[in-house]
């Protein structure tokens, strides 16, 4: 009697007396097939993600060389001390952060504005999607080739436009103080489409009757955006920002391909510093220490993202 009373609210489970989701953590006969089905993923995951992560942290305490087998001599905290005391390390970290600061606001704001405008178009959305999203699927090497040509002094389309406007042509990639801005500009063009589509999807989730109600109250389009759209998109925005920060921190392709980290190392980001130390200078152990520091930085930012997503999901 009491048992049936307990399940009065659960309509769909006449066969099973107990709901596995809420009552029992384990169920007989599930363990073996479950582990079997997870084995391929877990094996690859352990071998190629978790294993290397641990190996990296171990290696960071040794003077490992790229070309010699084994870990090499024990270095203690020597690699970390060297990195934290090296101006090259700090400037490469700063370049990564500076790039993130330069790219995140335009990539978020422009994507939002473009999505908002596209939401008002009754026809031809495929065209906007094409125009803004197309660059995102180009390989970085293709983006670099195209933009190197656009930025070419004297001959490039951009210098033509700038000189056509009567201005003196800047040395886009050759001027140390301008090079990072040029890379950021290219990156905004390249990756804006992803955020644009995220915002477009977010906008479609906003119930139309909210706008109708607001319009009935005499709210102008501007006020509708301020009072409805922006608050309703708060979650999308926070996710776009965090995803964008994580993506920007992983900067490598653009400076590697377009400036080789130059001029005079002015655009060398953290990952290229790792690449240079580990694969050009053969100092694998030191590179592992720098990677570990970079790893911690990205891990911390990603934890914020996971926290944001997890909060929404039930079950765990």
């Amino acid at each position: 009697m009491t048992i049936t009373a307990d399940y009065e609210t659960v309509e769909d489970r006449p066969v099973r007396p107990v709901d596995p989701d809420t009552t029992r953590v384990t169920e007989h006969g599930h363990a073996r097939p479950a582990w079997l089905m997870m084995t391929p993923f877990l094996a690859l995951y352990l071998l190629f993600i978790i294993g290397p992560s641990i190996y990296m942290m171990v290696m960071s305490f040794f003077d490992t060389s790229l070309t010699r087998p084994g870990l090499g001599g024990f270095a203690g905290f020597g690699n970390f001390a060297e990195a934290l005391g090296s101006s090259d390390f700090w400037s490469s970290m700063w370049h990564t952060v500076w790039f993130t600061i330069l790219t995140t606001p335009p990539l978020v704001v422009l994507a939002f504005v473009f999505a908002l405008l596209a939401d008002r178009a009754s026809r031809g959305r495929w065209f906007f999607r094409l125009a803004f999203f197309l660059p995102y699927i180009l390989p970085s090497a293709v983006v670099a080739l195209i933009w190197l040509w656009l930025y070419t002094p004297q001959l490039g389309l951009l210098s033509k436009i700038v000189t056509g406007l009567g201005l003196t042509e800047p040395n886009w990639l050759g001027d140390p103080s301008l090079a990072m801005w040029s890379l950021a500009f290219t990156t905004v063009w390249w990756t804006l489409g992803f955020n644009f589509v995220l915002y477009l999807a977010g906008l479609q989730d906003i119930p139309r009757d909210l706008y109708e109600a607001a319009a009935m109250d005499g709210a102008a389009p501007w006020q509708q955006i301020r009072r409805i759209t922006i608050p309703m998109l708060r979650r999308t925005t926070s996710l776009v920002i965090v995803l964008q920060i994580i993506a920007s921190l992983k900067l490598f392709d653009q400076p590697y391909l377009m400036t080789s980290g130059g001029p005079n190392y002015a655009t060398r980001p953290a990952l290229e510093y790792v690449y240079d130390m580990g694969f050009t200078d053969f100092r694998t152990g030191y590179a592992a220490a720098v990677s570990t520091l970079f790893f911690i930085l990205v891990l911390a930012v990603s934890a914020v993202w996971v926290f944001l997503t997890r909060r929404q999901e039930q079950g765990f």
Partner: protein
Amino acid sequence: MTGPMSRRTLMKGVFAGLGAASLAACSSPVGAGIAGTPIDPGTVDYWNLFGGGDGVRMQQMEDAYRKANPGTPLQAVTLAWGNPYYTKLTLATVGRKPPNVAVSHLTRMKTLQAADLLEELKPADLARHGMSAEMFNQRAWNAGLVGGKAYAIPIDTHPFVLFYNTKICGQAGLLDAAGNLAPIAGPDAFTEALAKVQKVTGQFGATHGINGDTATPWRLFQTLYSQLGGEVLGDEGTRVVLDDAKATQVLSFLRTLTVEKKLMPGSIDYQGAIALFANGAAGFHLNGEWEISTFQTAKMPFGMTLVPNVYGGTYAVQADSHTLVVPKGGAAASGQLDRSLGFIKSMLDQSMTWAQGGHIPAWLPVAQSDAFKKLTPQSNYAAAADSAVYDPPGWYSGSGSDFENIMGSAIGAVEAGQLAPDAAIAQIRTKLSALASTASPV
């Protein structure tokens, strides 16, 4: 619902695609990518880093090889110059898929050898292809030996040279009866020559790259500093042996030329320095000999000669050599070493083509030939090969290395007037000491 059907179709498509791709090319790249089998056995895989005029000449030499050896296909690949090239070469060798033959600067080859990435080239194997030690420029050959063993075949020496505008120098009264630059000896004579040229040009005496160019200031400094007998690194790069008095002497001299007397621009980049010389704003230009093609194309009256022996000691000039190396494992297949050495010999035989790009052949049968001796202005500075000073050994040293960056940026800052000589020496010492005390990773 058509779910299972289309899933099956999808999977079929995936496998069919993979299968077709691997069938289409069994012993080919795809097979190699999946099974790790060798690609195109029987060919010579050759990597180089030559662009510009050098690239064009290298292609001519490759084509000549193909014509002469129709039975041995040649796969030549040009990769981006500088560190990216050496990184790729290292990774390919560590990853057991190196090219059969590769170009390396002599000063970078030492580090590759120390990392155990190069095959030893044994005298018996070389002899089989008509090569032996005494047939090469001894300076270049000996600089490439490690423990008495050969690991690299030098194809040239490319020294730092003095370009001069014959018209301007003639007006300044600096040419001899034959129309060549009269010898200049001593710092005062050099300063005076620049001043005379400056009077003619109205702008500068000489130019060389400084901004964003660490190599050229280093090459000039090394040339003068070596004429004083100075050395920078000792004990394979583990000790900094910079001689403060000699370094100060050279740096002060350079500072006088740029900052005080303004005979050379102290703030100009590599291209700008070339442009100023090409358009007659300067009568002298200090650079590597490979820029010969640029000035020939510009159709200007110019000559090339040795950088003057400013300090009067044993003549010395900064230089490096291009060498051909066989990466470790690049000769694993049977007969491969002979194919590779045959290719190397063919490149040496074509040294005359290479010399047209300004390089001094290391291959004596060509370097001592009448044809080369008649080649001007190359023969004017050919003696530089015997006085070449290579970058000091050390795992962080060599063309385009950290070492050159540290030296060059400090020297350039002195020339630009941003740093006093003693401050520059202090900066060099601090930065080099950090690298010297780092255990060699190779």
